[in-house]
Amino acid sequence: MINQLITIIVALIVAPLIGGLLFGFDRKITARLQGRYGPPIIQPFYDFFKLLGKERIAVSKLQFIWIYGYLIFMVVSLVFLVLKLDFLLLVFLLGFAGVCFVLGAFSTKSPYAHFGANRELLQILAYEPVLLFLALGIYAKNGSFLINEIFKQDKPLLFTLWPLFIAVLVVLTIKMRKSPFDISTSHHAHQEIVRGTITEYSGPYYALIQLVEWYELVLLLGIIALFWANPLWVGILIALGTFILELLIDNIAARMTARWMVRLSWSVGLILGIINIAYLYLTKGVA
């Protein structure tokens, strides 16, 4: 019990540090790829503390409930990951977090936020089924949704679930809101629909959004690391590799439309997922 508490506390403190550094790395790499020098790697932390010191502007009462909901659901899903609990529940919690984010944007009056929220809903529609298929795939492989069970296997998931791994890579791009899927809001180019879903957040509340994004990034990379959970450091290397791959894709791809995103994610993601799971059931004959 005490051990678990310590794990939770360490995870809650370390995860945003790692997430922030990764985002700083992202900005640096992006600048370098564009032939610029780029900001220091700890730039996201400067941004974060500056935002904390800004004035609070309320545009709607409900907005803050949703933003705290977003934070809490994200943190709880991270706790599920570090305590190695149920993967299926983790996927649902992640879904709830996404919905809170959307409702937060809908609770304001800004048309840009509404536009972003509609697109964010399409993003959820695009990635949520793939994550569910991943949960099903894990069940088909291990006979359990528990993340703990993944760590007990000595053969990595990647060998049997590699089609799902490819599908999850697409999900990662959608979830990180990187090109070609920076549709509801974006990190680098800000001018299309202002900032989409986060248009109406300012000051400390915007800092909170950034904090959640850092947790989210660590959580997603953690899910990728599960594909090679034994030994875990290989998984972490794979996760970092995919992160760098995402940065590269972000810089060479242009933004696509939301419909195209849903079509791609459903056709590639779902077909790969279905083939993967069907194959598992056929070969193993799991009842």
Binding site: Y37, P40, Q43, D47, E55, V194
Partner: protein, 145 residues
């Protein structure tokens, strides 16, 4: 210097607003973002959203139409904020100062912290101006009204 003050200097987010400039100054501001001057190495990012901005970079003289928009934008930027008038037009009205529709410089409508002279203001001058403004920004309190 506290953490928040230091962060303020390190991360000024810019909102660029064009009143009725000839576009000369605007192009110079955009030049600051290009690889040659790369202001992002100082943490400056060009924001499209007044609610996320700290520094208002304003070009061109204020006319009767843009005065309302300018005031509105100024009110949407959360405190602490800094206003910089870029170019001669924004500072005083410049060559347009006695046009029938022009009110004059930006300071006719909202308080200005730093004036950057030049027609057009050079990118180096703009960066210098922002750096000057940041020293002032660091010492402003968040709850200033």
């Amino acid at each position: 210097m506290g953490l928040i003050q230091k962060s303020r200097i390190k991360s000024p987010w810019i909102l660029h607003f064009d009143n009725s400039s000839c576009n000369g100054c605007d192009i110079e501001i955009l030049a600051c973002l290009t690889p040659l001057y790369d202001v992002e190495r100082f943490g400056m990012v060009n924001m499209g959203n007044p609610k996320h901005a700290d520094v208002l970079l304003i070009t061109g003289s204020v006319n009767r139409r843009t005065a309302r928009v300018l005031k509105n934008l100024y009110e949407q930027v959360p405190d602490p904020k800094i206003v910089i008038a870029v170019g001669t037009c924004a500072s005083s009205g410049g060559v347009f100062h006695n046009c029938y529709n022009v009110l004059g410089g930006v300071d006719k409508v909202i308080p200005v912290d730093v004036y950057i002279p030049g027609c057009a203001a050079r990118p180096e001058a703009i960066i210098d101006g922002v750096v000057l403004a940041l020293q002032k920004l660091a010492n402003l309190r968040g709850d200033k009204k």
